[in-house]
Subunit: 591 residues, 2 copies
């Protein structure tokens, strides 16, 4: 037989009853039920129950019983219907079993370092990732990732995107994150860098007339890793010619809608609403709102301006703000201890504190709060009307500089959302965030830098402000947000050489620097570049959300730890002096 | 309008006559035919003829005429049928033209540094690769590459392959080619390496039960670049569980057949024949035979052993060989100068020379050759019979050590094939080469090394020879060859820990070295690994053959030069001292 199997382990049903079949897979479980020996055989596709009835010449039940779980075997046998009452309707092959005729042991398994489905150290699982991949939970996520990738490619190709490649050995362009450098042996003293994104290559594809480009591609950032970061990550990188912002969002709304609904098998996404950066910041305290629940940040600064509560009125007088969130129906459910914990969280985030008020009824007398003595009837009435407070609600106030208050209450809102069960991972709430500022100012140096990257097109109406009020210039940029995560981001790019030069000037890049780093871009813009723009998805994160897990390493087959190590292969590792000599590189020992 | 165009430039036909349309693209050509001004507008999809008749308020023919070629514009106008006799049946849109109503200039083009379709320096084209991509010849190859990629993915997914990712930041395993190293900032003194192939990760996927894996993935080799090599290249990397050699070849014969025939739109490949390594070496002089033509290398050592031609008989007596090739019908067409050139080629390749004989008829007296005085009737008769010589053929002989003779005549055969027009790039001759030696000996050190990589399974019947006659051990390995190029190579891998250890021992890897380099593989083989094997396609080369060009850089959008440079982005490049300091790396200035 050419093929080592006739079927895989998720394939047999009543229509094969009577057939002799050959399966391959791993011993999932062996049970001896007095003379009958049941062996569950598992592969990527499913699980088939095999059974041996008593001894035969070629096959002893003892041999089977001695097979350790996760040994790899081939089983030849005859398909038969399971007896009435023994069918398992939960699995695809649950109506049949295979009467074992012959077993070939491909390889035996030593006792496993950890058990599937049971708690065990993540370090141990990462070291033996090849075993963890056999655990159904990880296996299903990795298979789902592959299926999502395949569906996504089809959808993009239906939209005339070409799958086009870009180089990994790129040039160092020290903007944004730190890069991984590669000494170039053939050009001593020079280095390649691994790309943080194929941004300029995809723009060159557009100048080259390729019209629509996509690529699933690795990008690299040598950052100090925090939770949920990886030194290499997968982007779905896309670029289109002859589009404006609206067109890009329209096309990718279609792609995401069909991808998500097709994968989940239900109408999860219909349209994707849109929100400005400013609105997101005001109402959610950040630029990636989790819109699965409300509990918005509300400004009530003016109400406190003339109040007798000095701590608030002084802040407002000094140009700061007072914001509130209304936690519906929680007045009776939050203990003093809960409120102290929230206050501590706010303090940790840099706030002066979090003031609370329980609205046990609608009258002022029903108010229970440390602030109560500062609240008179008119203020209480205004607060109720403006914030939309109802009887039974909990109010939380935070006062201070605008940015701080938004950041603190934005995080408090998320803590409460999680605690109150408002963040169901099965629910996916997508949102376009638009009208981002083009630039941001470094607090220490006062220098302006591109908020996204320096190739974003400024919004036409804001262009005159680039020299005078750079903070007011909005970019033709957009992020796709889902459940509080940025899953994609993009912009329309500068195809106008003069505007591109203005942006470089605004971020303090001299003409010489611009030429040395991006000379080829400036040159390319001289030869009829098309209007173009694009988007890049953080694919690890997207798959994480689609499979309802909460860390990207749960959807990466071979992830690295927070210190950038692969525990399975023990990478990175020292290299020989000879190799370093060839590169002309010395590793400096720092004392 | 959300979308900036209603159609692309390859779309309009008679069925849109009367419609108002908006197109975008590049000015391919402008012709002024006395009052009528024709503008050919081009995009990735095709070319549409636009026409302006006389002046109007909003549009002057002068403006249009002043548009330089390759400027980028939008044209709005009305579709009309071309007059009888003016239709161009060679292009899809050749039956219509667009009467221009409005033109928007997106960007003007400076005069181009080179002209499409005309000879120009490759350096100049590489520097302005974004323009070269607009040249229809390169554009078509890059688009074809993307289409082939897409078709290949579909075929592999039909065969249950999952598109699975592997890391790029890997560990240095100094086997085979030189690697690109990346200093790991977070682990001072340690390095990542860019993978030469994802070999061990795909094997880990198999141990992890993923069953069938594929990936289009970049691989990296820091070799001194020769013609047609790139420091990074694209592999179609595949691995399958529960397969033997025959099954792998059967599956990939199907994939290649459908891919090639589908792409070419004709039955180019039916089955793919098979040839042993030894047969290939004997008959073609190398392990990647170009089977578009015969002209095989034939051994005639025995015939010369007792001949009076000392130069040959001495070689045979010393254990060497005499080989011949028969160049059909060329006796009359090869001048003395041609033959001298061939002789010089053989000398350059290290041979002692190339002896020729023109068979102007079938009688000995018709023989014209410097060897004639050494050839008697019996020898002549034997030569004719054994080599299959016919009247009018040219014979070429080479004598010396086996390896040298095969190498020299193998190359002479290819030179002649090219010269005689036997190597039609439109013809694709695929071949499986099988039964490769497992090991090869380093001439200088005498050490044995893996011919492919040390994870290949030895053929079972040869296993006992591993200690005693390692040169005789054949691997379960196979190459897919097309037109003299290796387009894919693979093998069945060791899933048996004991055999894997024997192979490591045979190549002189101590247990400590094996543990430090491949410890995780040895560990993984303890936990029920499946029988598995795979194959990897050199995708650049495959696409090169499918698009009938002769260098892989012709099918790579952004290739590097022989010195590893990207002329467009000026990469590699120096980096700042600050960046090096962060990495703890010093570049040693060698004097």
């Amino acid at each position: 037989m050419t093929m080592m199997r006739t079927h895989h382990c998720g394939q047999l049903s009543l229509s094969q009853v009577g057939d002799t079949v050959t399966l391959n897979g791993w011993v999932d479980k062996v049970r001896n039920l007095g003379g009958f020996l049941f062996l569950d055989l598992r592969d990527r596709f499913g699980l088939t129950q095999c059974v041996s009835e008593g001894e035969s010449e070629s096959l002893s039940n003892r041999t089977l019983q001695e097979l350790k779980a996760e040994s790899c075997v081939q089983i030849r046998g005859c398909v038969r219907a399971r007896p009435q009452g023994m069918k398992n309707l939960e699995i695809a092959t649950g109506a049949i079993e295979v009467l074992i005729q012959e077993v070939t042991v491909w390889s035996k398994a030593d006792p496993l370092p950890f058990q599937f489905g049971q708690e065990s150290s993540e370090q141990l699982r990462l070291k033996h990732r090849y075993l963890d991949l056999r655990d159904p939970s990880l296996r299903q996520r990795i298979v789902a990732r592959s299926q999502l990738t395949s569906s996504l490619r089809k959808l993009l190709e239906e939209h005339d995107f070409l799958d086009l490649e870009t180089p990994y050995l790129y040039k160092s362009t020290p903007e944004g994150a730190r890069e991984y450098l590669i000494p170039a042996r053939v050009s001593p003293g020079q280095f390649y860098a691994l790309p943080q994104s194929p941004q300029l290559f995809k723009q060159m594809y557009m100048v080259g007339g390729m019209d629509r480009y996509y690529q699933l591609v690795k990008a690299f950032r040598d950052e100090d890793l925090r939770a949920d970061r990886q030194p290499e990550f997968t982007q779905v990188d896309c670029e289109l010619s002859f589009v404006n912002e609206v067109a890009v969002r329209q096309i990718f709304t279609d792609v995401v809608r069909r991808l998500v609904n097709g994968f989940l098998g239900r109408e999860c996404v219909t349209d994707i609403p849109q929100m400005s950066f400013e609105e997101a910041l005001h109402a959610y305290g950040n630029d990636k709102p989790d819109t699965r629940f409300e509990m918005l940040l509300q400004d009530c600064s003016e109400l406190w301006r003339d109040s007798s509560f000095q701590a608030f009125s002084a802040v407002v007088a000094a140009g700061g703000v007072v914001n509130a969130i209304v936690v519906e129906g929680q007045a009776a459910h939050m203990s003093r201890k809960d409120l102290d914990a929230l206050n501590q969280e706010a303090l940790n985030l840099g706030a002066k504190g979090l003031a609370w008020a329980k609205c046990n009824g609608t009258e002022l007398q029903d108010l229970q709060s440390p602030l109560k003595k500062f609240v008179d009837e008119p203020l209480w009435s205004q607060l109720q009307v403006q914030l939309g407070v109802k009887s039974g609600d909990l109010l939380l106030f935070c006062a201070g500089p605008f940015d701080l208050v938004k950041a603190v209450l934005g995080k408090i809102r998320l803590s409460l959302g999680e605690r109150l069960g408002y963040m169901d991972p099965q629910q996916l709430k997508f949102l376009w965030v638009v009208d981002f500022p083009l630039l941001e100012q470094d607090e220490e140096t006062g220098r302006w830098a591109a908020r996204h990257h320096p190739f974003c097109m400024p919004q036409a109406q804001d262009l005159p402000l680039l020299r005078t009020q750079p903070e007011k210039v909005r970019a033709c940029a957009y992020d796709l947000v889902c459940n509080g995560y940025e899953v994609a981001g993009g912009s329309i790019r500068n195809h106008d050489l003069a505007v591109q030069k203005q942006v470089f000037a605004a971020i303090g890049l001299s003409e010489e620097e611009a030429e040395s780093k991006f000379g080829f871009l400036l040159e390319a813009l001289r030869y009829g570049p098309p209007p173009h723009g694009g988007i890049a998805f953080g694919w690890d994160r997207f798959v994480m959300l689609m499979t309802a897990c909460d860390a990207i390493r749960d959807v990466i087959a071979f992830p690295k730890t927070l210190s950038g190590q692969c525990l399975m292969t023990q990478s990175p590792a020292p290299v020989t002096q000879q190799e370093l000599d060839t590169l002309g590189v010395v590793h400096r020992v720092t004392s």
